[in-house]
Symmetry: none
Subunit: 253 residues, 2 copies
DNA sequence: ATAAACCTTTACGTGGCGTAAAGGTCAAGT
DNA sequence: ACTTGACCTTTACGCCACGTAAAGGTTTAT
């Protein structure tokens, strides 16, 4: 199947201008130009555009996307990990901002004045982040040795489906953790619901559930920082709270 | 306390250029200009800048921010509480984005082992392998080899189940397509149910759903014969009907 | 034959600044 | 008193990822 600009635009949801611009900057060239000078795109270009839009969704710049999709020696995984790190920083910056907002509300309501330099704590994080972006580029240039099989586009979509289905249960667990953690009571109703859900989740991968093993895993959650960060990343203090909730649930506390 | 451009810039973390630009567009005028033409800012401007940066963080345009902060009939505390809510939403959006990136990394890292017909199996192996790599040693030490092997087996089955669940959803889609197609009305109740189900099915594999992309895919169903045959093989005229139903559902028709 | 709906290139506009360039001001050290 | 260097000023062009318009050519349907 072949597509003109408008056809591909409708197919993909982007504008015609965008496609011409992508051609102009060499990000997505049409398969050929017909006798009237029209851009004609083929299957390969449809796939490539999909890939481009995927990375665009993730907030990559077009230049970096071009490197990712055109350079076979580009380390896509490293790029994504880098991006993930940037997202994490953005998130912790948001957390600090929220704290500042809370403080400001408190000071407005309570009349206590905030120090001038305190007012901008959240915004300063962004500055640090931006600097790291600059230097990070140099570091990123050093990656890019592994050869990635370029024919994995469709596969990636398929795998995403599975991963999503698999993490759904875990998603629910995190939602419960957030809710229960907000109560602050590891013996409360929500916390016990959380522990119960955690047990269900566990039983998917553990053939034989036992309270001992469950409590043991809870201990590992606070003892091993890989687990701690895993939960704390999503819910602040989540690992400790989950630990406490499980200990109550299993009758150890 | 009074501040020159550089002082306020350092205090707030924005650049001097930004402050001059904000002056230029009338968003943040200095308290006064001294005899040498220097911009001098006071306390009030510090507060105003802080407010401006809050809204900027939330993604508001400077013009809209100007309207918000210069309107005297504005409840600051209420606005800040709104800020906080918006920040929470932004954070959860970031979380979703991070999850998508994580999923992509996971599927890419398994890339080498995944080939055509074995793609899915290869992914399962990779997951099990990762699980072992990450936590295998500790768990083995604590719970013994038998437990681990059984757990791996369970995980294998789980992925198999999920794959089946996905296939089941597609099966339901075909049943709905048959029923809706029989009515002949792509705007009818059944057709809209069909489009909704199709969206659900789609969202398994698309990290970000949009009406545009959905409508675009519908166009592809009738434009690309691989898709047309795929649906027509099961329900005669199914591709065209599904296309029409989706266009109605997404408001394109 | 004509109109509508495409297609093309060229070119300027947008936001939110970054980054010179060219020059004026101020405080400190010599 | 003079120089240095860190500040300040305005003017102006550059950047991304396109949107929008102008001026014209091509295709398709009636």
């Amino acid at each position: 199947m072949e597509y003109t600009v408008k056809k591909l635009a409708q197919l993909s949801g982007v504008s015609g201008r965008t496609l011409r611009y992508y051609d102009q900057i060499g990000l997505l060239k049409p398969a050929r130009i017909n006798t009237s000078g029209y851009r004609i795109y083929g299957e390969k270009e449809v796939d490539l555009l999909q890939q481009i839009l995927f990375y665009r969704e993730l907030g990559f710049g077009l230049e970096e996307i071009s490197r990712i999709v055109h350079d076979p020696s580009f380390d896509q995984v490293a790029a994504l990990k880098n991006h993930h790190k940037a997202l994490e920083e953005k998130r912790s910056r948001l957390d600090k901002l929220m704290t500042t907002v809370e403080k400001t509300i408190a000071s407005l309501e309570g009349g206590a004045a905030m120090q001038d330099n305190e007012k901008f704590d959240g915004f300063k994080e962004k500055l640090i982040h931006d600097n790291e972006q600059k230097y990070g580029k140099e570091i990123r240039d050093k990656y890019g040795d592994d050869t990635i099989d370029a024919s994995n586009k469709k596969l990636r979509n398929m795998l995403q489906e599975d991963f999503q289905a698999m993490t759904k249960l875990e998603e629910e667990l995190f939602e419960l953790l957030d809710k229960a953690n907000a109560t602050g009571d590891p013996a409360g109703k929500e916390a016990q619901e959380l522990a119960e859900k955690h047990k269900q989740w566990l039983m998917y991968s553990w053939p034989t559930y036992s309270k001992e093993a469950h409590a043991g895993l809870a201990e590992m959650y606070v003892a091993d920082e890989r687990f701690t960060t895993y939960y704390d990343k999503r819910v602040k203090g989540g690992a400790k709270f989950l630990h406490d909730a499980i200990l109550h649930y299993t009758g150890r506390m």
